[in-house]
């Protein structure tokens, strides 16, 4: 395992700037998740670290070694692709053993067998070692792909949305397993996803990418509670943060220059109005089983928040809405700290 240092990396494809001026450090044994929408440059960043793309500018160091110009084979990285990139017509065992059979690291056969079996147990596929890789289910295939990355003990694992082609249940299971494996091995992982739950649950630090720039990086808690920009705030939280113009609701003291108020569930107090004054009206109570989504119409805006399953509010109820230390953003979408509680 080793740390990875990316300095001032640019990468353009024809006239699209995929990544610009990227600085990123991944510490030894750290699980860093890059989160962002499609086209933000997440996958390109990953491919740059892997050596599948070469940067136009900047440097990449892995474990203190400058690998900027090296090809993937000499970088000692492992890559898990979004698609199940297994070698068809090879068995699970042969797929897992594939990286160990390269001339650069030729191992004796009994050692290969031991390593493969250990990894197969780790990713829970050891009962299917002799199966053809094409005869596996999606979840099993991706387990094998992850196993193939693990078997080499590389300096860093690069994972490009490895769970996105799986169904929700499997995704949840593998998410936990992946985190367990990473903790067990103390592995350094750079993980790309557009799924905020994956990011929040697995990451030691989350990096938010937008249009090729790293907008913010921090622990999941930091990024969630102290988003640097409107964009970051909008990426995290379920239901998504409500964005309202300043002044629509009595917010006490919006800081100077604030244009937009961002309010998640924890920033809102919604009660049935008692005295005839109403800020909004309940539009719909969405029952999700373990929780409810409360949809409120406020002037021509719509708010969505979480609420208790035993909420007394019903469709059509007039409500008063109060903000509790919400997030403020300026005209550029940058966060303005401060603001007075009401």
């Amino acid at each position: 395992m080793a740390e990875v240092v990316i300095r001032g990396v640019d990468k353009a494809f024809k006239d699209t700037q995929a990544v610009s001026g990227l600085d990123l450090e991944i510490r030894d044994g750290e699980f860093v998740v890059l989160l962002g929408p499609t086209g933000a440059g997440k996958t390109t960043t990953l491919r740059l670290v892997a050596g599948l793309e070469k940067p136009d500018a900047g440097t990449i160091h892995i474990g203190g070694r400058d690998v900027t110009r090296l090809d993937p084979a000499s970088r000692d990285v492992a890559f898990v692709f979004q698609q199940y990139s297994l070698y068809p017509h090879l068995t699970v065992f042969e797929n897992l053993a594939f990286p160990l059979r390269s001339p650069a690291r030729r191992l004796p056969e009994d050692q290969i067998r031991r390593r493969v079996e250990d990894v197969a147990k780790l990713v829970r596929i050891h009962h299917k070692l002799e199966n053809k890789s094409t005869k596996l289910s999606g979840g099993e295939m991706q387990r094998v792909a992850i196993g193939r990355a693990l078997v080499r003990k590389p300096s860093i694992f690069l994972m490009d949305e490895p769970l996105s082609s799986l169904d929700a249940k499997l995704r949840g299971d593998l998410r936990l397993e992946l985190k367990r494996i990473q903790t067990e091995l103390g592995a350094t992982v750079l993980y790309v996803t557009h799924d905020q739950i994956e990011a929040m649950t697995m990451a030691d630090r989350i990096g938010i990418l937008a249009e090729g720039h790293l907008v913010q990086i921090g622990t999941p808690r930091e990024v969630y509670t102290e988003p640097a920009t409107l964009h970051v705030a909008a990426r995290l939280g379920q239901p998504a943060i409500n964005l309202l113009p300043v002044g629509l609701l009595p917010d006490g003291g919006a800081p100077a220059g604030a244009i937009t108020v961002g309010a998640r569930t924890e920033h809102l107090t919604i009660e049935r109005s008692a005295n005839g004054h109403a800020d909004g009206r309940v539009d719909w109570v969405e029952h999700l089983g373990d929780q409810n989504h409360l949809h409120v119409t406020l002037a021509d805006r719509k708010l969505i928040t979480l609420t208790d399953t035993d909420t007394p509010l019903r469709k059509g109820d007039p409500v008063t809405i109060r903000l509790r230390s919400p997030l403020f953003f300026d005209g550029e979408g940058n966060r303005i700290r401060g603001g007075v509680n009401t």
């Binding site: 892997a50 492992a78 890559f79 070698y87 594939f98 690291r105």
Partner: protein, 322 residues
């Protein structure tokens, strides 16, 4: 075979019934849906029966007789399996089979090797690869008759371009390079022409196979430190194999019944060195007019190709399902 066809047709009829919207049936009030469906497929069925099934059955029947098409008034005698017996024990037919096997084997080997290599090069996506693909495909687009005639000129010992070039590079005098009249060279002459003409076809199928291999598999192998050599043997070749095998099947069936080009180039000669099965068949049927005998020969060829192709397709399916 007729049974299989009948059930196929029935199934087609049923599908048509299901697909026919109700208004059509109401407009043709006198007919039931099923009748309308049969009406629609009737022309195809009639044609199929008239030009495929009926001649086949008739040929089978003729193969047990001594019928001669140039003497229609002679009494036709049933000779049982005599025709078959004679063919299978006749050394001439075995020579023809040998010539065919030689031709089929070498054309497939050469076309697969060259075709796959070309496809592999074209798949590198170098500058102008689309242009070169088109250029390579040109021979395939020509008519076999044109190709046969052109190559006769190219093989011409005195004025032929092929002869000139070979003689220029090898130093052998052109008079000794009689591609079409030498017993040794003639079998290779037809192999060269067929390879020239049909390698592009094999290349095209192989190219489709190579293009079907996703990039990320190669990228995964690259990260896994597989050498280009290993990538070729453990990814490229196994994944393109079903396509290669398909090309071999197509070329094999085609060349087993090769007639036009060989007939134009050598006419089976010199002697009978290039007399592939279909040329023997033509000689027996339309020069010697032994219709019964040649019918039996045709049936034997048909069964052989059909049987081999069936076995091959089974193997192909096994390879595909790996």
């Amino acid at each position: 075979m007729t049974d299989a066809n009948a059930t196929l047709l029935e199934r087609a009829a049923e599908t048509a019934v299901r697909a026919t919207p109700a208004p059509v049936a109401t407009r043709v009030r006198a007919l039931s849906d099923r009748a309308v469906a049969w009406l629609f497929i009737a022309p195809t069925m009639v044609l199929l029966l008239a030009i495929n099934i009926f001649p086949l059955i008739w040929a089978i029947q003729l193969s047990f007789t001594n019928y001669r098409a140039n003497r229609p008034n002679e009494t036709v005698k049933n000779v049982g399996l005599q025709n078959y017996e004679r063919i299978l024990t006749d050394s001439d037919t075995w020579l023809a089979m040998q010539a065919t096997a030689h031709f089929v084997f070498w054309t497939i080997v050469l076309q697969t090797l060259i075709g796959f290599s070309l496809a592999y090069l074209i798949d590198r996506k170098f500058r102008g690869h689309a242009f070169w693909t088109t250029v390579i495909l040109v021979p395939m687009m020509l008519s076999p008759a044109v190709v046969g005639n052109f190559w006769r000129f190219l093989y011409e010992p005195q004025i032929g371009l092929f002869t000139y070039i070979v003689s220029f590079f090898s130093g052998i005098p052109p008079s000794e390079i009689a591609m079409l009249s030498s017993v040794k060279l003639a079998p290779w002459a037809i192999i060269i022409v067929d390879t020239w003409m049909w390698t592009p076809y094999v290349m095209l199928i192989c190219l489709a196979g190579l293009r079907s291999i996703p990039d990320y598999i190669y990228e995964a192998a690259e990260v896994d430190r597989a050498s280009p050599w290993r990538q070729f043997w453990s990814i490229t070749l196994p994944m393109a194999l079903p396509f290669i095998m398909l090309a071999v099947l197509f070329r094999g069936i085609e060349n087993f019944k090769m007639f036009d080009m060989v007939n134009l180039l050598t006419g089976g000669g010199p002697g009978s060195t290039t007399e592939v099965a279909s040329i023997t068949l033509k000689r027996e049927a339309f020069e010697k007019w032994r219709t019964g005998f040649s019918s039996a020969f045709a049936i034997i060829l048909f069964v052989a190709v059909f049987g081999l192709a069936n076995i091959y397709v089974k193997v192909l399916n096994k390879v595909k399902s790996r």
